[in-house]
Symmetry: C2
Subunit: 153 residues, 2 copies
């Protein structure tokens, strides 16, 4: 997948806003969307709890949308008419988030992406595991792993 | 913990609304809150995607609030001044949810609750693993497991 300017932050922002009702309430912002960087953020004040830290459900939602955005972008770039869906995932909360929520995709290894591409070519569907990190300044506040599937429309 | 009417659905609804900003947008409703039944729901139209099914982040949020509600209720009933926080969790999405979102706690085993109570007595803090099931009619649409901690205020 080339770094297609047509499939940048604005494209993913529009898709998320149009397709996921709750994303507008979370205030999801696609900060960066390139082949090697995919970052989503959200303001704390829409996602806080009474202790002034981020709600775990909001952090999870932002992380799952980050993985969803990668798969969605990949499918569009590859001209594959399929939807990205989450199948299973886990998240570990390491330290409370006390400022803006910020989720960054850990770019998948080339072999993983090639395997995903092979499954899509052969079967029209495929699965890929993606890792997303929630940061707080320079420390990792939460770690997310998700298995995403591409399902033909 | 006795089935205290003071710690029923209205009590938990007030706590959730007061403490978790996003819960109001999700439209979380505490349907039932007893010692052997804890059920939270939310309307689909606030939590849908463009395919008319529930967003995975909304299902996760409802499940995590169900576990949080159990721990919160337990702590208040036991007069322990601590907050319930999620430490880690996993969720498996088995089939899309096409109607109202509905999460039910799987009541923890008595030994698990006793162990949690012992930890709280000895150390003022403790951890417990809780299971929550998202239903769709009579089938299980998603399974959630979470480790919740009670942290002294």
């Amino acid at each position: 997948m080339r770094d297609d300017p047509q499939l940048g932050a604005d494209y993913l922002q529009d898709r998320i806003n149009a397709e996921i009702t709750l994303a507008r309430h979370i205030g999801v912002v696609v900060e960066r969307a390139g082949d090697f960087e995919l970052v989503l953020s959200a303001p704390l004040d829409r996602n806080d709890n009474h202790k002034g830290t981020a709600f775990g459900g909001s952090l999870f939602s932002l992380a799952v949308l980050t993985g969803w955005a990668w798969v969605t972008r990949y499918l569009v770039a590859a001209h594959i008419d399929a939807d990205a869906v989450i199948q299973e995932s886990s998240i570990r909360y390491l330290t409370p988030v006390r400022g803006p929520l910020r989720a960054s995709l850990v770019p998948p290894a080339a072999e993983q992406v090639q395997k995903f591409a092979r499954m899509l070519r052969r079967a029209g569907r495929g699965r890929i595991c993606l890792e997303v990190v929630i940061g707080q300044g320079r420390t990792v506040a939460a770690e997310f792993d998700g298995t995403f599937a591409a399902i033909p429309r």
